[in-house]
C-alpha cells in the first residue's frame, strides 16, 4: 500500500512579537492511502497546526511534507492553491459554509475553479448532496439547516471535486450525540466505499473509535503508540 502522507522532521513555530512559540517539534508521520486516522491530544497540543500543514493551508518552519505525491512545502502560493483544489477536501468544526449561498451553491463553489460545464457541475453537486443524504435540501440556506445538516453540506463541498485526501478538524465538535454519529457514519462510508483517505482531529475518544488508527499528539510531539482500536470491527 502506498503512502499518501509523508511528514518528515517537520517543525512549526509561531512568533508573537519577538518571542518564538514552538508548536510542533520534529514530527515524522506516514499515512497509507485509504487510511482513516484519528489525531487526538489535549487542547493546544498542535493538532490543528499539523492538520493545516498536511492540507497545505499553512507552511512548516522546517522539514518536508509529501502529500498526494507532491512536495507541498516547495510549492509557490498559487501552485499550492491549485494543489489544494485538486487534492484535499476540508471539513471544519464550525462548518464554514457561506451564509448567502444555498446548499447547492456552497457545494458548487470548488467546481467553479474547474473546467466543468454548468450541466456537469449541477450533476456533480446533486449526486454529492445525495450521497450525504441531503438530496431534498438542495435549495436551503445554511441558516435553514440543522448543525448536522450543515456539516453534511460541508462534507459534500469537501468531496465534490473527488480529492484523494479528506481532512477534518473536530467535525463533530459542535454537534449533539445523534448528529455526531451520523457524521461519523458518513465519514466511515466515505472511507470504505469511496476509498477516501481521511485524517480527522478529535477530542472525543468515542469519535476516534470510528477511525482505523489513532495517533496522539502531546505538546507538539507525536507519541510512539499506534492504536489499531478499530481493527476487530473491520475484519
Amino acid at each position: 500500500m502506498s503512502e499518501i502522507i509523508e511528514v518528515q522532521n517537520v517543525s512549526k513555530s509561531y512568533w508573537r512579537d519577538s518571542l518564538e512559540i514552538s508548536v510542533l517539534h520534529n514530527i515524522s508521520l506516514k499515512v497509507n492511502e485509504g487510511e482513516f486516522l484519528a489525531l487526538m491530544g489535549p487542547s493546544g497540543s498542535g493538532k490543528t497546526t499539523l492538520l493545516n500543514l498536511i492540507a497545505g493551508i499553512d507552511r512548516p518552519t522546517k522539514g518536508k511534507l509529501i502529500v498526494a505525491g507532491t512536495d507541498i512545502a516547495a510549492l509557490g502560493e498559487s501552485a499550492l492553491a491549485k494543489w489544494r483544489a485538486a487534492s484535499v477536501g476540508f471539513v471544519f468544526q464550525f462548518y464554514n459554509l457561506i451564509p448567502v449561498l444555498t446548499a447547492f451553491e456552497n457545494v458548487e463553489l470548488p467546481l467553479l475553479l474547474t473546467k466543468l460545464s454548468k450541466a456537469e457541475r449541477r450533476k456533480h453537486v446533486e449526486d454529492t448532496l445525495e450521497i450525504v443524504g441531503l438530496g431534498d435540501r438542495i435549495h436551503h440556506y445554511p441558516k435553514q439547516l440543522s448543525g448536522g445538516q450543515e456539516q453534511r453540506v460541508a462534507i459534500a463541498r469537501a468531496i465534490v471535486t473527488d480529492p484523494v485526501l479528506l481532512v477534518a478538524d473536530e467535525p463533530t465538535g459542535d454537534l449533539d450525540r445523534a448528529s455526531a454519529e451520523e457524521i461519523l457514519t458518513l465519514m466511515e462510508r466515505l472511507n470504505k466505499e469511496f476509498k477516501k483517505t481521511i485524517m480527522m482531529v478529535t477530542h472525543d475518544p468515542h469519535a476516534a473509535q470510528r477511525a482505523r488508527i489513532i495517533r496522539h499528539l502531546e505538546k507538539g510531539d507525536l507519541t510512539e503508540g499506534v492504536e489499531y482500536e478499530n481493527i476487530k470491527a473491520n475484519i
Binding site: 493551508i57 492553491a81 476540508f90 464554514n96 449561498l101 458548487e108 467553479l112 475553479l113
Partner: protein
Amino acid sequence: MRILKLIYKNTLRHKLRSSLTILGIAIAVIAFGLLRTVVTAWSVGVEAAAADRLITRHSVSFIFPLPYSYKEKIERIPGVAEVSFSNWFGGVYKDKNNFFARMAVADNIFDAYPEYEVPKDQLDVYNKERNSCVVGKDIASKYNFKLGDIITMEGDIYPGQWDFVVRGIYQPKYKTTDGTQMFFHWEYLNERMTKEMPGRANDVGWYIIKIKDPSQSATISEKVDALFKNSTAETKTETERAFNQGFLASTGAIITAMNVMSFMIIGIIMLVLGNTMIMASRERTREYAVFKTLGFSGKHMIGLILGESMFIACLGSFAGLLLVFPIVGSFEKFIPKTFFPVFYIEPITLILAVSAALFIGIAASIFPIQRVLNTKIVEGFRFVG
C-alpha cells in the same frame, strides 16, 4: 456569473447598511451636481463673453456717464469695427421684485451682440418705432409679454412714467446666453432727458466696441483710453471678459469655497463607502479564508470586494444622477431667473460625478483588499470579529 451573483447577494446582506451607503452616495452626487451647477451659473458670464468686444466705461466707475461725442472719436481708431453703447435704465415694473435688466441701447446693439437673435421682421418694426422694445424670451414667458403689449415702467434713475411697446422677442443663441434682458432705443430716453433734464442729455452708460482682430484688444484699449486722457471723463477700456471677471472677482472667494466643498463631499463619501467595505470584509474574514482554502486566488478576492464596492458606488451615483435633474430643475424655479440667467447641469458635471463615483468605488476597496490579501488562511480561521 456565479461571482456576480455572490457580489449581489453580499450587497444585500446588510440591507440597511447598504441602503444607507447608497443613499449617502446619491445625496453626495446631488450635492456635487448642485454646487457645480451654481459655480457654472456664476461663471457663465465670463465664458459667454466674446473675445472681440471691448467695454469702455468711466475710469472711476460705470455709474458715471460718458459723453455721446466719444462714439465718433472711437470709431476713427484703426481696428475698430463697430461702436455701440448702452445705458442702465433701472426702473420698476409694477413691483420692485420684478427685477430684470433694462437697457437703453444704440440701434446697432444687435450687430454688436449677435447672440441675441431677433427675427428680421420684428427687428425692422422695432427700428421704425420710437418707444419700441425687445425683450428676452425668458422674461417674455415669465411676464407673459407678447408682441404689441405695452410695458409701463416707473423710472428711478430716469424719473417719470415710461411706456414701451413690445416689438421683438429675442432668442438666446447659446445655452450660456442671458435671455432675461430688455432693450429699447437710447434715442427715446435721450429725447426726453433733453427736454426734461438737459443736464443729463447725451449721456452714455458705456461703450461696446467691436474689434476686427481679438489679438489687438490690448493695443486698441490703450488707444481708446489715451484718446480721452486728461478730459473731464477719462475712460477705462477692457475686454468684455475682463469686465465680467472683475464682477466675478468680488464673488471669487465664495466660488472657490463652493468648488472646494464640492470636492470635499466626494472625500467624505469615500470615507463612508470605505467604512462600509471595511466592516463588510472584516465580518467575512473567515469566509475569505474558506475561499482561499478551496483554491480561490487573490484575483477572485479582489473581484468580490471591488465588485461589491463598485456595485454600491454605481447604484448610488445612478440614483443621484436620476434625482439631480428634477432637483436642479426645482431649484431653478425658486431662484429668480435674473439672478442666475442660465442654470443648467453641464455635461462635464455629470462626467465628473460619474468618474468620481467610480473612483470612490475603487478607492474604498483598497484597504479591505489589502487586508484580505495579507491575511494568511490560518489567521483568517483564527480571527474573531
